[in-house]
Amino acid sequence: MAHGDSLMASAGSPGRAWWGPGGLVRREAVPQLAWVLLALAVGFLVLWPVLQLQWRAFAEGGSAFSRLMALPRIGTTLTTTVVLAVLSSLLAVVIGTLLAWCASMLPQRVRRVGELAPLLPLVVPAVAAVTGWIFLLSPRVGYLNMLLRSLPGLDGLEEGPFNIYSVTGIIIITGMLLSSFVYVFVFTGLKNMGQELEAAAAACGASPAMRFFTITLPLLRPSIIFATGVVFLLGLGQFTAPLLLGRTAKIDVLTTEMFYLTERFPIDFGLGAALGSPILVLGLMVVLMQKLALGEQRRFVVVSARSKYNLRETRWWAAVVIGLYLLVTTVLPLLALIYVSVSPFWTGSLIVPELTLRHWSSVLGNKGLVDAIWTSVATSVIGIAILIPLGFFMAFALLQSTRIAKPVRMAIDLFATLPIAVPASLMGFGLLFVYSQPPIQIYGTTAVLVVTYVTLMLGHSTRLQFTTLVATGQEFLEASKASGAGPMRSLFQVLLPMCRKGIAATAALTFVLLFHEFSASLMVRSARTQVIGSVMYDVWAGGIYSQVAVLALIMVVVTVIGVCIAGWLGGTDPTQQKG
């Protein structure tokens, strides 16, 4: 209404022309046009591959679906996809919530470190973690399995007791990988939650466990629902663990089937699209249900004061639980990777006769591998340089309830949501399809990787910066404008400095996600335009496990450096900003 009034007043004011300074076009239409252009640009990025792919799936009378049904074991593949998504996300929710609960009960001396510890698995790329787990839990020669077999009662076993090359193995590994994401959401909810009810229950004699199940857990429901949706989407599009663990045991999911299509010519894009259709539909349903269940997202950005007192009892065993989690998810796989990287070859022995740096020198002396590492860094940095401003403006647009026309805002909201709903592997398959043919034929160039990364991370960049903007508040921006500063001056001298830490946190998280990106990169890479994740897969498929270990460790080191740089630029520890 106010918007309409202003339009009418402007049009009716004497001396206020349509054109020129202060005219209606410059004041109203031009800014709208800019937002429309933004919506069109991101809409093209996000919708183009998805729509093109779906069109392909339904073309020729939907013959792609006939080919889909003719695939050997397609029923098993579908079932495995769903079972993997459901069970791994359930496991992630249980572990992530338990960790958040434990973190809230950490003794003061270890609180700061203990609260950060469950986030450390995020620094280890999934592909590196899975590789580390193969070295630990391979049935016959996994180091952990061998150690366990030396225990009384298990010494009669020839292999196991764990078999990582199984659906159960994939579920456990995926669940653990996803639990850090749940922890981020639930712990933030827990931190911002008042503790008066818990204290009252404690005064009435309720045990910590009873308080957790009757007070804490019900209060955390919104955070847990949101986290469950997020990890279910990630589980549905899970690619790394099924690809690396499932191939030997012939366990396939829809995303791996799509990937195998890219390895044969001619690529059956229609079949790939048909394979992706169930994931797309399920993903959109989950996002829609999340939106309906949680309503306007702003309601759940907690800005109220926390409870003044920390009444929660502290427990040392909580630190032990977190320590165990860190040991299992991060320390053990990293130790296995280090050991294999300096062994002459991966051997079924806990003691190798000689240690060697041969594989390190081989990787660092291999131009293709080193180029891939640099391409990863360069494309991640370029991607961030595009994503941060793009996400910032999209987030800014979402906050403008009156200044931007509602259809434009809704479109931007949709385009920020879609990349989160569509699994990276499916998006990657779509991007390969649209960018390997005219009119935009950039397959085989670094540009296709940058475009892929921007498309994939647009949603994350927007949502994270949206949270920052909401927490910053509009008051200072309004005050700046009221003091006579123009939009640009207000942006650069008021808003951006205030959001600096949040933006740095977004940059750090985006760097981690991009540098670790594996699924889409594997789809769009060409033989000579590779990133570290894709060459790592090639080396893994090529069977040189010691070099895989070296590359995995390089990924970890570069990630840590990237996060530190982003944190330093932001002037704070970025992981503190994730919530």
């Binding site: 020669v141 012939k250 390895e263 044969r264 070859f345 397959y443 085989g444 060409s526 033989a527 040189i544």
Partner: protein
Amino acid sequence: MKNSQFGSSNGRAPQRRAVVLAAMLALGAALPSGHALAQANSRNVPAAEWAKIQEAARKEGKVVVYATMGPAVHDRIVEAFNANNPGIKMELVRIVGSALTAKVEQERLAPNVAGGDMMLTADIRWASDAVKKGYLKTPVGPAAAAWPDAWMRGGQVALVAPTPWVIHYNTNLVKTPITGYQDLLRPELAGKVGGTSLVAEVVTLFYKWVDETNPGFMEKFAAQKVKMYPSTVASANSTASGEIAAGIFSVIPVDNALHAQKAPFKTVIPNPSYGFAYGAAIVSWAKNPNAALVAQDFIMSVKGQAALVGNGEAGSPIPGVAGSLDLSKVNLQLIDWDKVTPEAVKAYETRWNTLFGAR
């Protein structure tokens, strides 16, 4: 046989020799190395023109090769080429299985991509089709001119490094030596044998051959709960590590890399054995066409062949190549690509999938 780590099928004497192979080898051995033959085929170019090609190649400065062999072979090829061709740098990209031809085809459709200039592929049927479709260039140069016609496909694909598929096993886990495919059916190996999944057409053809020459074997082998790996190197490394005790499908160069690292590992050439040769070819859309011609000619030269065959890892169609595997002493049958049809391959894939489960 150069390598002592190889076992041999010491049971019966060779029952048959591959007629095709014998004919090819006879041709190769009988070839004159001189000018007479060089003038007789289209791969011959006058010395002045070859010099121009070499000069243009040096201006291009590099050649990009896609190859599907083992890492050790690749390292040898690159090292030898760079040492013998100053001014031209070889960049070799390893692509496993059918992904190689998929990438090449994608690059054909995306002409702006600076992709591979030449390839060393095991997919000879694709290469043969590519000749017919005009995707490839005829190799020229002194070595190309002297190359035996019997080891060319369509005049453009040079068949190089013929080698048998071998069995390998972990000597810590297998105490009674394995000498042939039937030994992989021993009860104690159930759940401990590996194979390579159908990542390339040659893998399918290998299983098909084993199936046809050993009636009833494949059903029993599938019952051994075989673990399938995405490449021969992966299977070999898993055998060396002890994850599996034996593998049905490997090649000597891959196994040799593990022998060099003193892995508890033995390689056996079955008797009879089945094998294949790689196809070296230049794509017509090469961004470095002259450097590709020089590289292809190098691959077909004695020095290039020496890099390919290593220490008894493969045979060579030309005489005088140090270290080449003496194929006449191996009861080897090479794939007869003239008899390979897409329908037969597809039909066998279906059978294999039924036996072993998809992929």
